[in-house]
Symmetry: C2
Subunit: 338 residues, 2 copies
Amino acid sequence: MRGTVLYGPRDVRFEERPDPTIIEPTDAIIRIAATCVCGSDLWPYRGIAPITQPQAMGHEYCGIVEEVGSAVKHITPSQFVVGSFATSDNTCPTCQFGYQSSCVQREFMGGAQAPLLRMPLADGTLVTTPGIPADDLIPSLLTTSDVLGTGWFAADAANVKPGSTIVVVGDGAVGLLGVLSAKQMGTERIIAMSRHEPRQQLAREFGATDIVTERGDEGIVRIMDLTDGVGADSVLECVGTQEAMMQAIRATRKGGYVSYVGVPHEVELNGEELFFAHVHLHGGPAPVRRYLPELIDLVWNRTINPGKVFDLTLPLDRVAEGYRAMDERRAIKVLLCP
Amino acid sequence: MRGTVLYGPRDVRFEERPDPTIIEPTDAIIRIAATCVCGSDLWPYRGIAPITQPQAMGHEYCGIVEEVGSAVKHITPSQFVVGSFATSDNTCPTCQFGYQSSCVQREFMGGAQAPLLRMPLADGTLVTTPGIPADDLIPSLLTTSDVLGTGWFAADAANVKPGSTIVVVGDGAVGLLGVLSAKQMGTERIIAMSRHEPRQQLAREFGATDIVTERGDEGIVRIMDLTDGVGADSVLECVGTQEAMMQAIRATRKGGYVSYVGVPHEVELNGEELFFAHVHLHGGPAPVRRYLPELIDLVWNRTINPGKVFDLTLPLDRVAEGYRAMDERRAIKVLLCP
């Protein structure tokens, strides 16, 4: 088969690779129905997260099971499945607490931007859909694998509730699906911070009631104005930079909640400022596996349509163009079809 | 009157000062029944928190109301009262969310190590006891003003629940009362980190089931051993140093809770480590006013006896000796009687 490999900054190649095979008896092989490019793929693509050797790319996936290892009990060939970007056994104490993305056996997935994928820990990582989905459901099912699951965790970790006033920092696909998640959780007031017209439109479509275009200190002043000087109940930090994190903390009311779901790059939090900010802070790699059954259900019943974040669809062999479009912010998120 | 003034590192003087008077109509004047030295008083005493001018010391207090301003409605002379180390109007949105120690009108108290104290925002800060307390209740009532309220917040902010396994980092009076608070909240497993025999004893008396004497990385290894490699559900950081904070974060299970209640001194948290630690983090100045009615009740009914943290009692005019005893860790906490 041919798959996607990153060789260095901005050097994405779609090249011949060996077909994946069952290695461990807990593995499965999946034929990918759709995959995509993640915001986090852009960190190594841009050379910000260094890579030391060619890296098989892609960790968002859904598709049909081709083959399972001898120890796989709950997943069978021909089923349609979605799984998390992080593998989990779903039985260890950490999994049982609902933090499957920190499972003791966790591996971060790679190699999903290809027609075939080897899935370790298939039983603990994959969730089946009620049947083979209609084609138009596939983009939305794909989002549950990471980008929706991460936006959902952002809302959950920020204690979003009916009646909350929430702010979403970051208008990437995760931030936009943070808006959708908060709306789905019953929030009436959702302030999206975005300066890009197409993203503002999608934020509104997903449930944003206010758009703030200012950033940094000016953005904080605007949030304070919009909340009568109190700050927001919950702020979802969906970027991963120092500026975004401080913007989130400073826009939150005393006793409010800040979540952060993108790997922080060179972020340092000053203890004293955090102390007097008086906020709750929670984040980390989204435990997508915990949310998958509920999110698949919401998509299957067409209650939500998170697949709208894909504003560019490309055949998989044009994956390099997908990276370029996201890097240049010409696309919010790129869907790739094998 | 004579009151306590800090002039510089280790220079505590008990000297003539003007009697306090009503300045604002929302003020009250209290005749102090008992006061004490706080762990946080040691920061400026040791020269770690710089002071630029002589500073009236003391922010823990209880006593009898002598006089009230014209706008005070709920507090009247002759009542016995306890109040928080931070004033609050108890009506602003932040107070209504239960974060009175970040009230928009907050002032941090000073001057309580004296026979008379001016209390701003008397109605919003003070809570009356059911009557004039017996003498032996006064030390415990005094603790509700800060040290117990802070230990209680540490347990509450760390989501302590029946069935939790908790760790307390720090064997100062706040840490010890964090143990008592966790016990009162129904926890069965309380691991206290302490290397000082008298403090270990008191921790056990307050409910600690395990004592860990190791610190830093060795301490974390011990906690992991005691929790089958998973980490604690809740860790109360009651010190305020980088080492204590990292010890707390690294001893917590994925998805667990870390609270921190002492002003962090030169603490910096690395975003990436925090992200992969997957913990909840909450802390700040304890909103003592929120807890005062409940804590006064628990003391009044003799359900708890937090006054045991006072292992040295001195007449107020020997306050300088009290600071020395705490600085040298000869005393856990010093009670001062006017």
